[in-house]
Each structure stands twice: as structure tokens, then as C-alpha cells.
Symmetry: C2
Subunit: 509 residues, 2 copies
């Protein structure tokens, strides 16, 4: 964040005042935890910090010269989730790394968005975990467009659609699709009515009965001009509102929106109105307004076919425009010395505690956790039997060798103190259960060779260690004795080459 | 905390449930921020975590073999302070490092208390800030006894009394004192009535009219057997309650408690009751029940005289006994295989954000902040004029030399990137205002010598650098050109010896 994102670390309070959230229209969000102080003043716990950071930066930004500027923090956030689940996966209190960017024009704002996109990609790559990024809907945060970062996992709550041909990955909300070539729809047609925001136009969405209307795609077809309060109302109610608000029905408008899967042979329902002016009647054809399905044609390239994945969202970045700077009135003096344009914002979040939960979910097996080295509680454990004075001395020596000569520099990188009562087998088991990538076993029999059990999962580059083994195995007298037996791979190496081999093995983990 | 305190790091939620705080009787604390979730369940924001940690550890502790164990965290805490003040000095949200210890017997509990006391002393020493520790009252946290850590500063809200002779330091609450030898009190006497908890005994505290009754000392004289609800009631009201609750006044008891400053020549008020049994009448003489004053005799050694200091409390450690484990029912199986004793606790807090505020207060002067190196945003800044390409190259070289060869290993230890528009004078000023201990000035005139402006405050060992200057100054061609002029000390040194001199100067800072 500091070097690649050119961002400045800050730390905002978890308590925010009602007035700020009222100004941006988010106070009524049902997920906000609200509280009062002893004087009766109302606050919320921050679910996210757009309001607070915009209010803070207002004091720092006066001129275009003060921008672009990006700030970030890693603090706890609070959401009164109706259904918390999966421990760290969805908690009502969680740790988030959130960044906010401020720019004086659209181009700079977009450049910062791209820089942070690159930085987030780098962060997930450095963690050596398997992730994808996907174009996404902006949801409650709002703004111009957004991109999500996901870990693919069958237990995930989200669905991603990816195209084998063009490589586009989108959330289901954003995934446009066309029917398979021979798949034109002949069956019954469902419909959903809506009104434009001014209630002047009745919108009729038509789509195959066996499919799910995708509200976000429908909204986008209408360029967001839909009254959201009618979303969950029955069609009859929408029709009634339309008729009440348009006394002279001859001058009101009707728009039919047809999903691309339909054709003239589809079985349409009766039209809702008995009389209307043909001039006021419009139709949009061939748009994608239902949830995409596996094997349909990608709406982006119109060539490849779509695959679907279950996934866990771990990051989300937004180009916000002036969604927050306009209500909070954050302007600046521009190059022409005018003070009438609003600052352009972006915001960028990684769910840090959720990420830990998601990686735990991805990596775990019957033996316990499996962590990438960078997230593991220790990178290496060193085990021997209890009451074996000679081996305990050897362990101390190995630890100080590692700290001095390997890439492990921190005391906390290495676990060598176990409960004294544990036997060597129990220590190894514990090391594996904790998900420590490498377990070094010092036994009197094999000495001066030591065994390494590699449990670290290889999600990133996978083959570096194999190349090293081929290249240097003989020099170092390093052998891989069992490969991937039940998730644990065994190596035997003379103690004098241990630090080198450990560094090579950790490179992939 | 890990190495010296043998403690395990944890991280508890900032949201705690009402039921826990009700169980320990602390739910009605007016400083708790309270909130409800969407289902109406009540919570508070943790002001401190005795309840939550005790509840958590209950699941881990079953046998005496599981103890002693100490855990700690560094998380935000919340108190609805009526009077927040001084920014970080007293905020409603603050960062606290809190530790909790669990032991199976009093001896182990006390040993842990002492170990943590040592660890906290070491922490404050490592910070190189001037602190004292003082015996203190346990307040709302409760327990057996407690000790506070303070920074001496005239703007502080607390008063400490210290004895020149025995070295005892206590908070005013805990400071017993005797009158100066020739200071026996001849004037009017004030009195304050109280009742024992069972209301069977009227307690009459007598003390000099020009002094302040010290409620905590008074409580301790009575071994805490005082009804606290009558504390702020007028004497007449206390007397009325006493008479109402003791119908047969002949069998009720009266206790007179005389401050040691009084003698028979003091001017006592009339006795409150007309008739009483001499048998039921008691008197405690020669105790200290008023706030101590400077130059009075120390109540501990009864020899030295007392000095008073204003101070800022930054840490507090408590031996809690079973104040929390009893209501939360945390028992364990002891060596005799019995399961009927409660776990012994201790708790240990450092106000991390307050400490930053207090050190800022202590160190600041007309130029800005002055930080100990360990707390400073950067340890060293390197400045030159703008647009001086040659000097900018030199600065890069100096930075990489320092990172490689000095005790500074982190990029963030060194500030060398300033706003490009600033002149050399403005950069130096900014470095001093930020409180960076050392400012290295690279100018074309003095090259290959560089100037160091030392702004770091020397609160710890002060004279190490002077000894080094005497010992090695000539070898290194190192000169101190101005000493402590307006808080800034100047050094001149050839660039090839810069890293050595910086290490020597930082030793004291």
C-alpha cells in the first residue's frame, strides 16, 4: 500500500456521528449498529468509512495541487448482519483494510483506480493464494463501477461466470449471456412490471419462465431509471400505481423489454392494458436480463461459452465519482482558479479477517489447516522427542542457523517450544494441524540427516522446488522420499544443507 | 510481553453481551457505551475485557496444570467519558494493551503479578521515557491491590506523593501521612459520618477543618466496611438513617476515627448523640484519613518527608483475586482432584494512545514535538536544498548506507522524501516539528562533512554520547558544535563516519 499504492496510513474512529450518515443518505441502512452517548447524541459503528474519510479530507484538500492522494487503514468494521456465518467468513465485527483515493479529475481518479487494482492484484499474488477478479455491481457503496476479488471455492456464497474465450470474469449480477445457438426459447414467458422514477412509463420485462430475472441487468438496461421502491411489489400493484399516477393514460408511455432468449414463438401472456397510443409504445429487444447459466454464450465477446464457479468475495474496489463528495460538499480550487467542481473518489477494501477464514476453508483437510507461508502462524516447526537432551541442543542450533542464514529472520517464524509432555508424533501432528508449512524432524536415528515434512500448499508457482531438486539435489544430498502422500510430502537432507533446502521449499508456499 | 511476560497474544471483540456484565455487576457502569442489534439483544462496547477474557478462558482452564497462563491484546476500548480532554489523553475511544493472568493459587498469581510488573517497567524503560510506579487504589476494576505507572508532568490530573527517605511512591488516594513534627493541629475540627454496611455502627471521622477527607484512606481504616450509598449524603441524613435502623439506640455502636493530626487541644464539635452506652463506644486514634500534603511525614517509613507531583497515569496493574472468576464460576481441578476453588486473576493495562498523548505533552516545545526514537515517526531525516541533483544523489547513498550499516533497518526509520517545493530550511523545520530525533543536513558547502541537528530528547541514560564523543571524537573527526541551543544540538562529522555517530547519538534517545 505504501510503495505500490503510494498511500498514507491513517486510523479512523470506529464511532461515527449520525449527521454525517444522514447527509449521504445512508443512516437508514439496517446493517448499521447504532448507539447513543450519555447526552443522547446518536452515533453508529462504522460499517465502512466513506463518510468519515471524506469529512476528514475536506480539511486537507483545498486545491487541485493537493491531489491525487490516497489513504488507507486496517481497522475493525461493524455490520449488524442478519445471518452471520462461518466464523470469520461473515462476522458482525471484522477487520478490513480500506483505502480511499481523491482526485481532481476523472482521468486521475481512473489512473488511481488502476494503480490500486494493480496493487491489490499484487497483494493477493504475494499471499500466493488462488484468486480471480471480476467486474461487479457497486451495491450500497455506489459509484460508477467496481471490481471484486474472489477466492474460488465450492462453499462460497457468490457465483462467478467466466468466459473460456475472452477470459472475462463477472459476478452473476453483471454477467450478460446469450442463448446457446440451438437454444431459442419456446415455452411460457414470465413478466415483471416496473415504473420509471417519474412514473411516466410502464416497463414490462419479459423473460423465460424457467429463468431468474436479474434485477441489476434489468436496471442497467434502463440506465438505472427505475423506481426502486416498487421492486418487490406484485405486478398488479405496479399497474395500479401507474394508472393512478397517469390519469390520461393515452399520453403515458409503455416500454417492453425482451430478454434475448425469447422469440416470436415464445408463449407471451396477455398485454396488461386494453387501450394505448401506438406512438407511446416502445420495445427493447435482444438484451440479457436473466441470471446467466453455464454453457450459454458470453455477453461480452459473443463467442465463448460461460462457466460458473462458486466463490468467496475477499476484496472490492470502486470508482465512486462524486457520490460522497457532492452531499458532503468537498470542492477544490482548480487550475483555472474556479472552486465549483467536486472531488472524484475511489474506495478499495480487502476483508482481512474474512480472507483468513476463506483461506482456512480452501486449504484445510483431515489433518487440519494448511496456510500459505506468509499467513501461517509459524513458517517452520522443529520437533524432537521429549527428554532428549542431545536433540534439544540440536534444535537450538538449527533454529539459530535458520535465523542467521535462511530467509527466516523473526523468532516467531519458527516454532520449537512445545508442551514438554508431547511425544514426537504428537508434535508433528500438532504442527500439521496448525498448518505450519514445514516441519523439521530431528531424530537420533537419522542424524546427521534430518527429515522435513512439507505440508505447505502450493497455490502459486508450483514447480520451483522440483527444478531446484533436479539441479542441486545431488550436491546437497537432498532426497524427496515420499511425494504428496495424504497431503504430506517427505524430504531427507543432511543438517548442513537444511537452511538452503528450507528456503527452496518455502519459495513455492 | 511474549518473551518477558510469557504471554500469548489474543484479540477479543469490542462488542460484549449484557448478560456477562450483569453477572459481574458492572452493567450499570455509566461509562459503558450500550447498543442493541436488530433483534433487540443488548450489548456494550468493551471498556475493559475482564468479563470477556474470563468467559473465554473458562473453556480452556479445567485443571491446575493449565495454569499459570497469561494472555494479552492491543485493541481499542470505549468509555463514554463525561469530559474527554487533551485529544489522546482522554478519549472516548482509545487503544489499550491489556493483559490478563490466571493462576491456581495466590502465590502463583502474585508471582505473575510481579513478573508483569517487571515487564511493564522494562517496557517503559525501553521507551526511554521518565516514569514512576505508584501503589494505587483499585477503583472500579477491583481486586486485592494495584499499582499505577505515571509520567510526571505539571499538566497531569493525578497527584503522586513520594517519600525522599524510603522512596515509596503512592497516588494521593493511597498516601498515608503524619504531621510535621511541630505541626500538631490546634484549630477547628471537621467531621463526616458514615455507617457500617449492616448499619449497626455509626462511624464519625474527625479531621482538621482545613484538610480534605480522603475517602479511600477512611475506607481502608474501616477495612472497607462502610455503606457506600451514604458517601455523599449530609451528616444529618446519615444520623437519621442510623437512628431509624437502630430502634434501641442503647445497643447500637459508635466508632470515632481520629486523624493523626488532631490532639486533645483541637477544637472538637459537639458529639452527635445525647445518650449512648459507654461499652458500645469505640475509638481509633492516630490514623491518616486526609489527603497528604507536601513536607508531611511519610506514613510508610515514618521518617522521610513527602513530595508531591502532578502526573499522567499511563498504566495500571491489578491483583484481582477471584473478583471475576467467582461470579463467572471459573473453577479448576486442583492437585487433590477437588474442583471447588476459583481461579486467581490479575490484569494489566497500558493506555497506548494516551501514552502517545502524554509523551507529546511532555516533550513538545515551541518548535513542535520531541519523541523518543522508539516512538518517533522516523528516527532520522536527511535534508538538502531542492533541485540540487548532486545532494539528492548523496542523500540516496547515505540512506542506503544507514540501512545497511547502522542500527536502522527499516525504510520507515528514515525520512528523505519531502515536498519538492520546500527549501532546506523548511525541511529542517518540518523535521524538528515532527519530533524526528536526528536531522542530517547535506549541504554542498560543508561536504564531505555533514551536519546533524539532534532534537531527540534524552530522558533515559543521558551521557553515553558524551563519553563516546570524548573517547572517539578525535578518531572520527566528530565535533559537537552547539550544545542544546534552544533544544537543538548541532554536530559536524565526515560522511564516512556518519552511521557510527548516528548510532551513538541514538543510544540515549
Amino acid at each position: 500500500m505504501d510503495n505500490d499504492g503510494k498511500a498514507i496510513e491513517i486510523s479512523l474512529s470506529a464511532i461515527s456521528s449520525k449527521s454525517l450518515w444522514q447527509t449521504t443518505g445512508r443512516w437508514n441502512n439496517s446493517e448499521l449498529f447504532k448507539l447513543k452517548d450519555s447526552k443522547g447524541k446518536q452515533y453508529c459503528l462504522t460499517a465502512t468509512c466513506e463518510e468519515d474519510i471524506t469529512d476528514l479530507m475536506k480539511n486537507y484538500i483545498t486545491s487541485y495541487k493537493d491531489m491525487p492522494i490516497t489513504v488507507y487503514q486496517m481497522t475493525r468494521k461493524y455490520r449488524d448482519e442478519i445471518r452471520p456465518r462461518g466464523g470469520l467468513l461473515r462476522g458482525r465485527e471484522f477487520l478490513m483494510k480500506d483505502a480511499y483515493s481523491f482526485a481532481s479529475n476523472k482521468e486521475d481518479a481512473f489512473a488511481t483506480f488502476q494503480k490500486l487494482d494493480d496493487t491489490y492484484n499484487k497483494i493477493f499474488k504475494d499471499l500466493k493464494i488462488p484468486f480471480v477478479s471480476a467486474w461487479a455491481d457497486s451495491g450500497d457503496i455506489g459509484g460508477e463501477f467496481s471490481k471484486e476479488f474472489h477466492l474460488i471455492h465450492e462453499s462460497g456464497e457468490d457465483t462467478l461466470m467466466s468466459c473460456k474465450h475472452c477470459g472475462d470474469v463477472s459476478t452473476l449480477d453483471m454477467s450478460q449471456s446469450y442463448p446457446e445457438k440451438d437454444g431459442r426459447y419456446m415455452g411460457d414467458v414470465s413478466y415483471k412490471y416496473a415504473l420509471t422514477k417519474d412514473h411516466s412509463t410502464l416497463i414490462c420485462f419479459y423473460y423465460p419462465k424457467d429463468r431468474q430475472l436479474n434485477w441489476n441487468l434489468a436496471l442497467n438496461v434502463m440506465e438505472k431509471d427505475i423506481d426502486p421502491t416498487l421492486r418487490n411489489k406484485p405486478n398488479d400493484h405496479v399497474l395500479e400505481v401507474y394508472q393512478n399516477d397517469n390519469e390520461d393514460i393515452m399520453f403515458s408511455k409503455i416500454l417492453r423489454v425482451m430478454d434475448c432468449r425469447l422469440n416470436s414463438k415464445s408463449n407471451f401472456p396477455d398485454f396488461p392494458l386494453k387501450k394505448y397510443l401506438k406512438n407511446n409504445f416502445g420495445q427493447i429487444d435482444d438484451v440479457s436480463i436473466v441470471d446467466a447459466q453455464e454453457n450459454e454464450i458470453c455477453g461480452k465477446c459473443e463467442e465463448g461459452s460461460l462457466q460458473s464457479f462458486k466463490s468467496i468475495e475477499v476484496g472490492h474496489i470502486f470508482l465512486l465519482g462524486n457520490k460522497y463528495t457532492r452531499p458532503l460538499n468537498v470542492k477544490f480550487v482548480d487550475k483555472e482558479n474556479k472552486n465549483d467542481s467536486f472531488v472524484h473518489m475511489g474506495c478499495y477494501g480487502i476483508g482481512v479477517s474474512r480472507l483468513v477464514g476463506a483461506v482456512a476453508e480452501l486449504g484445510r483437510d483431515a489433518h487440519g489447516f494448511r496456510w500459505p507461508a506468509i499467513m501461517a502462524p509459524y513458517k517452520v516447526s522443529i520437533c524432537t522427542g521429549p527428554n532428549n537432551e542431545e536433540s534439544l541442543q540440536r534444535i537450538k542450533q538449527i533454529k539459530s542457523d535458520l535465523l542467521e542464514n535462511s530467509t527466516l529472520h523473526l523468532q516467531n517464524d519458527i516454532l520449537n517450544q512445545f508442551n514438554e509432555k508431547l511425544g514426537i508424533g504428537a508434535k508433528i501432528k500438532l504442527s500439521h494441524a496448525l498448518g505450519i508449512p514445514l516441519c523439521v524432524i530431528v531424530g537420533p536415528k537419522s542424524w546427521p540427516n534430518v527429515e522435513i515434512e512439507a505440508r505447505g500448499i502450493r497455490w502459486g508457482k508450483k514447480d520451483q522446488w522440483k527444478k531446484e531438486l533436479e539441479r542441486r539435489g545431488q550436491d546437497l544430498n537432498w532426497k524427496c522420499t515420499t511425494e504428496n502422500e495424504d497431503g504430506i510430502e517427505k524430504h531427507l537432507v543432511p543438517v548442513e544443507h537444511l537452511t538452503e533446502v528450507i528456503d527452496m521449499l518455502l519459495k513455492d508456499m
